[in-house]
Amino acid sequence: MMGRGLLGIEDLERADIETILETAERMQEVGRRDVKKVPTLRGRTIVNLFFEPSTRTRTSFEIAGKRLSADVVNFTPASSSLTKAETILDTAKNLDAMAPDAVVVRHAVAGVPKRIADELGAPVINAGDGAHEHPTQALLDLLTVREEKGRIDGLTVTIIGDVAHSRVARSDIYAFRKMGAEVRLAAPPTMLPADVESLGVKGFTSLREAIDGADVVMALRIQFERLAGALFPSVREYSATFGVDRAKLRYAKDDAIVMHPGPVNRGVELSHDLADHRPSVILDQVRNGVAIRMAVLYLLAGRTRVEREEE
């Protein structure tokens, strides 16, 4: 699977996910050192090709690459000419000529990383494509849950918010299902995906039912910049019905954790108090994001050569 890149969680086997998580757990140790740098990708070049603005994910990949001693180049094409396929492929071919060892791609249109991967010799890592997938986010969520709970198998994970338009939710659904968790969705009907059944999850329009007995409560970001109020009548109503606060959290398990892919709209998806304090683990997710991206880059951006002097 991982030979040609990481385009989505849907393509991964459970064993692949285990390998990435175990590798990331070793990378966490590197992140706790005074000298947070190992030489394994010395002389390797990683290109961050972000067609869509992103500071957090790009920075996370950049730090991850640098901690492995790779040279990291940020390539941010002007956003005006992006929707033309020719331009994207031209960009990809130009990049390929510079012989990178891995290319991290984010694009507003689903499928672009795959299209670029078809053109490149280097492995491509999807850093978010449209409403399709955001695999490293789901992997860091798995890592955070495993760190907190010691396991993923058998847990109940409730994802709340605009699931239908969320690449994070889509990747998380695949990821948690493959690792043996039960996944529930909670959203207004307009925000539930049409293919709930085929994803192997249960959809709820009542937060209370969805959250009942949950081990993990994951709130998604309401993307005001993309939706412009199209899918629900008012922020206040959304917040009252689907916003997570301590009162609603009582229905979840006593030791439930609260997650959010960030950045949080405080007082909308999460109460102010929950955005900053346990049981929310948002900053652990960010910290684990670096470890996951180190693991993925380690597994993809370099391969093994054995000395064959006697052959």
Partner: protein
């Protein structure tokens, strides 16, 4: 562990080798125990500041050996020696071609190495590349006062100017042979043994 083939899974230490029939035991559990007791005496003999020792096992095989040495030092000289685990995978110099990446092993360095006498413990020394990688890794944790090296088996074929300070046993081997510390029960619990498998590995093993 110079013996790791990048394709093998070192997380499963004592996996049954396909060529089980052609494997001979060169050190059994008793011989390993004796060698580790002698090495513990040599460590005491050679070092003055015994309270400053820091044993660091290179996974997987070096870890149980480092623990046993710590136990021996306690028994002989009533020393309480820190034991660390240092994976060298991210410091290897042979990870640049094609093929999959080797799995990472655990690193646990419970205290700072500054001004300590660090004793690296590996099961099998050969090319010296693992020890080179371990020294680089060690330097990222601080500035030890000195570094010494224990190898249960030295099989020769050195490619770097690395000297092993404490050798359990010198075992001349062909390059194509595979030398391995293993436990019959697969978990590095005693009884341990060192086996040589004919034609087991590639050139660098």
């Amino acid at each position: 562990m110079t013996n790791d083939s990048p394709q093998a899974n070192p997380l499963q230490p004592a996996q049954a080798q396909g060529a089980e029939s052609s494997c001979r035991v060169v050190l059994d559990d008793l011989a390993i125990s004796r060698a580790l007791m002698r090495i513990a005496h040599e460590i005491i003999e050679r070092n003055e500041d015994l309270g400053n020792l820091y044993l660091v096992g290179v996974p997987n095989g070096g870890v149980p050996l480092a623990r046993q040495l710590a136990e021996n030092l306690r028994e002989i000289a009533d020393l309480d020696t820190v034991v660390g685990i240092l994976d060298t995978t991210l410091y290897r110099d042979d990870l640049t071609g094609s093929g999959s990446r080797p799995p990472l092993r655990r690193t646990e360095m419970p205290s700072a190495v500054d001004d300590r006498v660090v004793i690296l413990v590996d099961d099998v020394a050969s090319t010296g590349r693992t020890i080179r990688a371990a020294m680089d890794a060690l330097m990222d944790f601080g500035r030890p006062r000195a570094v010494q090296v224990v190898a249960l088996v030295d099989r020769g074929h050195r490619e770097l100017p690395i000297k092993i300070d404490y050798v359990g046993k010198n075992i001349p081997t062909k390059r194509a042979e595979l030398v391995k510390l293993r436990a019959r029960n697969g978990s590095y619990q005693r009884p341990l043994e060192v086996v040589v498998t004919a034609e087991g590995g590639r050139a660098d093993e």
